[in-house]
């Protein structure tokens, strides 16, 4: 289902189109410059993908809900760089970047959004439910906060099985107000005391849950500090700055892996796109605010660095953009041309085991 891909020892991943050997050499972290270029490609891949999904939605080719990651790319890109094979990643419905970064074929990801049988989950889940278990992606969930306990369970189980894998558990600022967060964070802290919870909590604090700002959803707005209640250490990072995220991601992933204890990173970021496909008016924020944050756009910032440090020039950037555009165009065409799932698929995957489907047709 997912693309063939190379993965180097340090756990960085790459999409099919970009063989990893170019930028890394078996296990050792590549030079900063090369690494940044590689991650820049990833960010452009995501951004281009998201823009294509917005077009697909407007064209009526993507149904249901659609939540894009535009503005937040540095967070997933940085943290997934610290992913190692066997680790698990779990997130909510704003999930498109994760399979792309973990090595799924962009074609299947786009096909899933188009509701096609060639999709990542056979067209059964759609935008909110991307899974690529082979590549470590354990979903894609639609109930705000509902996935959090699962991630804590993964972490326990991976230790129970005596592995040194960790779980990367992503959650939004809005999800923190849900009781499931509280119960799961408490379990994570509790089990972590015995080294039984290698869970790296990544708060994607994009400052709004739909139209409600953090300040209007809680009287205590330091989200990382909420983990004090569970005995879990935390820190913050500028989620618009890929290099900052990268440093924190590797350091904290290592720490969690070594200790078996949870750790929290609150990444301050911003979704410059609307919340979802039905967020037409954005009455909850000003155009100025969005503009201000666009100036801190993670892609723009990274481009600036690459140019400034003379790692790439404008042409090289343009080349990468073109390359990614081609990849995504291919993915979009593939999605467009793929067949819908066969109707029999309606009844598969309801149950595992002998009685694959149970009920009346």
């Amino acid at each position: 289902m997912s693309a063939e891909n190379e993965r180097t020892g340090d756990g960085g991943v790459e999409t099919q189109e970009e063989p990893r050997e170019e930028s890394r050499d078996g296990g050792a972290v590549a030079t900063d410059g090369e690494h940044l270029v590689e991650l820049y490609k990833n960010m452009i891949l995501i951004r281009t993908f998201e823009e294509a999904t917005q077009r697909g939605f407007r064209q009526g080719k993507i149904g249901g809900y659609l939540h894009v990651y535009i503005g937040q790319e540095a967070v997933a890109t940085g943290f997934i760089d610290a992913y190692k094979e066997g680790d698990r990643v779990i997130t909510a419905y704003r999930d498109h970047p994760f399979p792309l970064l973990l090595g799924s074929d962009p074609k299947s990801v786009m096909a899933e959004l188009y509701g096609k049988g060639t999709g990542l989950v056979k067209g059964k889940g759609g935008s909110m439910h991307l899974f690529d278990v082979e590549n470590g992606l354990y979903g894609g969930y639609g109930i705000v906060g509902g996935h959090i306990p699962l991630g804590v369970g993964f972490a326990y189980a991976m230790k129970y099985q005596e592995t040194d894998h960790i779980c990367q558990l992503y959650l939004g600022d809005g999800a923190i107000n849900n009781g499931a967060f509280h119960e799961a964070a408490n379990l994570s802290g509790l089990w972590g005391r015995d080294g039984m919870n290698p869970c790296l909590w990544i708060i994607e604090n994009n400052q709004y849950g739909m139209g409600t700002s953090v300040a209007r959803s809680t009287a205590m707005t330091d989200l990382g500090a909420k983990f004090d209640a569970y005995g879990i250490e935390h820190e913050k990072v500028d989620g618009m700055d890929l290099e900052a995220v990268l440093e924190v991601a590797h350091r904290t992933a290592d720490k969690v892996r070594e200790t078996g204890q949870p750790y929290v990173v609150e990444a301050l970021t911003y979704r410059t796109a609307p919340h979802g496909s039905a967020d037409f008016f954005e009455k909850y924020r000003t155009k100025d605010e969005v503009k201000k944050w666009r100036q801190r756009d993670p892609v723009g910032q990274l481009e600036h660095k690459l140019l400034e440090r003379e790692i790439l020039d404008e042409d090289a950037l343009e080349e990468i953009r073109a390359e990614m555009k081609e990849t995504i165009d291919e993915a979009t065409n593939f999605a467009d041309e793929s067949e819908e799932p066969s109707v029999e698929e309606l009844y598969t995957d309801v149950y595992a085991g002998e009685d694959e489907y149970m009920g009346e047709e």
Binding site: G63, Y65, K124, G125, G179, T218, L346, V350, G359, E360
Partner: protein
């Protein structure tokens, strides 16, 4: 009579009661500043201010429970469940507190609470965002559960819901917010516990609720045209209390019934309808009550699968033909 959308009619009822009664207030996620995900409450924050139009954090259990407390204090909260799919998170508050506190306090308190929001599927929201929860909530004594499908009924039943001193589970036909229908100005309160005969007929009774009523209306046309069969369509609309009498009277006339639901077959509303009819109209029934239900799977995303997962005209028409002992091709 003026034509209004389902959305407008629903909103009108709430505005009307908020204007009449200071104790009515609204709560929910993004109902104020954002304007409401489904734009039902758009503008109401400006009209009534933030004490009466309360934007909440994403805490379905917490704010539903708080609303129960407010209702026990004499307020009449209307809670927006952004979609009913999120109500599992509030199930404990709804079932254990709202439904029962009057009883286990020996009648010392009342809970005049409305919980409303879109219910049902049909717009590719897939497994976690597609449920029809009539039966789940309808099972619990202490709750009232309604499921209006016309703009007239959504207004009239919302008026009744707000005035009811009991907790009301108000399940809106989420896919139909934009559909139009006649809605009288002023007070068109529709009583609970009365089914609506949406179309009269003699040969077979089609029973349903929510957006499946529209399907049944189309099937009735089809049966008339293609089979010269006169179908009666009953819109249950009040799930608890359930109007057994209207169902039974209809079947006494037609001798045949098909119960149609978007929700899953087992323990659904259609099972109850079948159980009631066979019990109370046994001697009148010329064929078993057939049930047409959603596919016995979580809701799929792909459009073709989703269409296959819900009842369609052919399925209902064929079920009607079977109970009429017509040949089904």
């Amino acid at each position: 009579m003026p034509e209004k959308t389902y959305r407008e009619a629903l909103r009108e009822a709430m505005v009307q009661e908020m204007e009449n009664d200071e104790s009515v207030l609204l709560m929910g996620e993004d109902i104020g500043v954002y304007g409401g995900t489904h734009l039902i409450t758009d503008g109401l924050l400006d009209m009534f201010g933030p004490r009466r139009v309360v934007d909440t954090p994403i805490s379905e259990g917490g704010f539903t429970g708080a609303a129960v407390g407010m209702a026990m204090t004499g307020l009449k909260p209307i809670v927006e469940m952004m979609t009913w799919n999120f109500s599992f998170l509030a199930a404990d508050q709804i079932i254990q507190n709202a439904a029962k506190v009057r009883y286990f306090s020996g009648g010392q308190v009342e809970v005049p609470l409305v919980i409303r929001g879109p219910n049902g599927g049909g717009v590719q929201l897939s497994a976690q965002h597609t449920h029809s929860l009539e039966n789940m909530y309808g099972h619990f004594p202490g709750l009232k559960v309604v499921s209006p499908v016309t703009p007239n009924d959504v207004k009239g039943m919302m008026l009744t819901a707000i005035r009811d001193p009991n907790p009301v589970i108000f399940l809106e036909a989420g896919a139909l917010y934009g559909t139009k229908g006649e809605v009288p100005e002023g007070d068109n309160a529709v009583p609970f516990g009365k089914a609506r005969v949406a179309r009269e007929g003699d040969d077979v009774t089609l029973v349903s609720y929510g957006r499946q009523v529209n399907l049944c209306m189309r099937v009735a046309d089809k049966l008339e045209e293609e089979d010269d069969v006169s179908a009666e369509v009953i819109d249950v609309r009040s799930i608890r209390p359930l109007d057994e009498e209207t169902l039974v009277e209809s079947v006494k006339k037609t001798h045949r019934a098909v119960a149609v639901q978007e929700q899953w077959r087992y323990f659904g509303v259609a099972s109850e309808v079948a159980a009631i009819i066979q019990d109370k109209a046994f001697d009148y029934l010329d064929a078993p009550v057939e049930r047409v239900s959603g596919a016995e799977t979580p809701a799929p995303f792909a459009r073709n699968l989703e269409l296959a997962a819900f009842p369609n005209e052919d399925m209902v028409a064929d079920a009607a033909r079977r109970v009429l002992y017509e040949k089904v091709v």
